[in-house]
């Protein structure tokens, strides 16, 4: 599955959100799922990414997964449902206030690239936004 980005859910993302450092989730990858030039250039920088908040894996956590398309079911909770390839792990500054899975959000944080495993959840990720804040679009 490719890196479709912030899915445009029945509406356009407001241009006000598209600042110079804004990036779409799909723009982080090439078609073969290697990191894009845009992702490599943004590594370590603070930027805004659009997407959807997957139902959190754990309550009262700073962690959630940003998906390219609305993802109603937590893949870890439903046996047999694999995560899509095009996800972004988000580590927020504060405890996450849950937003419905199909409401578009924009997340602002520092882009980290490379394999990592969450010490608490065991969640494997290739790309993360850390020290992040988010809001409904």
């Amino acid at each position: 599955m490719i890196l479709p980005a912030a899915l445009l859910l029945g509406h356009a993302l407001p241009s006000a959100a598209a600042g110079e450092d804004a990036i779409r989730l799909r723009d982080l990858y090439n078609k073969d799922l290697s990191f894009s030039d845009a992702a490599l250039e943004a590594e370590g920088k603070r930027l805004t990414v659009w997407g959807y908040m997957a139902p959190p894996l754990k309550a009262n956590s700073e962690f959630f997964v940003l998906t390219n398309r609305p993802m109603a079911v937590c893949p870890f909770c439903e046996p047999g449902m694999p995560w899509p390839d095009d996800i972004l792990a988000v580590y927020a500054k504060r405890i996450v206030e849950v937003i419905p899975f199909n409401v578009p959000i924009e997340v602002r944080g520092v882009l980290e690239l490379g394999d990592a495993v969450d010490a608490e959840l065991g969640f494997y990720s290739k790309v993360r936004l850390v020290d992040a804040t988010f809001r409904r679009v």
Partner: protein, 497 residues
Amino acid sequence: MRHFLLSTATLVSIGGAALAQDLPQASSAWYESGAATVAQRLENQPITTRAKNVILFVADGNGVGTNYAIRLFSGQQAGGLGDDYVQPQETFPNVALVKTYSSNGQTPDSAPTAMAMNSGVKGKNGMINIMDSVAVGDCAAGAEAGTRTFAEIATDMGKSVGVVSTARITHATPAAVYARTVNRDWEDNTLIPEGCDQKDIASQLIDQMKAGVIDIALGGGRAAFLPDSVTDSEGKAGKRTDGRNLIDEAKDAGAQVVFGEDDFTALTMGNNAPVLGLFESSHMKYEADRTGEPSLAEMTEASIKALGANENGFYLEVEAGRVDHANHDTNAYRMLTDGKAFADAIAKAVEMTDPNDTLIIVTADHEHGIAFNGYCGRGSNILGLCMKEDEAGIEHTDEPNLADDGKPYTVIGYLNGVSSVLTEQADGTYSGSRPDLTEEDATDIDYLQQSLIPMQSETHSGEDVAVFARGPWAHLFGGVIEQNVIFHVMNHAVNAE
């Protein structure tokens, strides 16, 4: 001969009537093409020899409405207005409408619909090739109520059998070619309850390869064939908890097993070794995202080449499995691009086969909650906004129609889905309004067409689908038929004296 004479007489009569009428519209291109179509149809003659080969094309979720959208998309991709475009299956001489309901569902899922086509009887939602006297999930009763499939009938006649899908090869539509299960979700061993003796779908595929029923199986779904302790060629873990490595078992049984575009291209076909291609851990990629794995047309071509080496003929089922998935996501872009890939596979089969010995059937298992807005001028992008008609010309005015809320809307909409205009509010209620929309937004690969009722996944519908056919006994398709009739046409075609 009597039929031919009658047809010729009718042709003369119609042509004569048109000439005699001296109609002012007779010089119109529309009039001429309409008359030409009738003349062409008068030439159609049924083929009543025994079918050597049968190819059943199924695009999952490609009902009459979805097929219409794919027609417009393909036509617009080709540079036209879209609606006058003709897909390969739409050139076939025989067409019927198909009623897709299941034994217990006004709205079917893909299990009983695939069963209807492969076993000749309707079944219950959730079960594959198990008679509807059995309750879903009843292992013991199901063991005594399995059907005999068209693949097994074809095998008994000395034919080869292939199954191709862009979904997991253990998903319902392909599974109905080779498996019997009281629960379509039992693709690997993990969900089978303790004490149930039924084998999971993946292991049934390997059994059918060993038994000589299945000669080629190409699709996604590696994880169901590997133990959870083993990772596949793309680093993804298997799902089986019984320790069985079905890929090794297939190899030990003499099968060629391939995982990507390169080893697929290098396959040695026609050496009587079964072929198992598993190109993704789960479903294959959407056509719009495809890289490193073969297209549906390429898999179809390879299968026909290999199966065609059998002088007794073959049965091949080809599924475009992800038209359905993109509809479930209300993502028209990927639905349409996978639909075009389906049409390309059909075109390849048409090119490679002779209608005098090969029955080609093109259909869908069910429709979706897709619908179409109006009144759009011609050439409105099927992905985009419904534009105004041009009363002074042909093509739309480039000005979007506006709804009563003052906002434009797309040609395609869905009755329910994740893209509902009603979203959950902080107090748990659902409300909302339609967002603003531009043509650029609506034609984006990731745009989700607006829907009404909030649902985690857009649903199937019970609306009719079409069946198109050419080749021996294709003329048996006509009118409005039950879905299980498709099996009976195939069965008649390969057995006709």
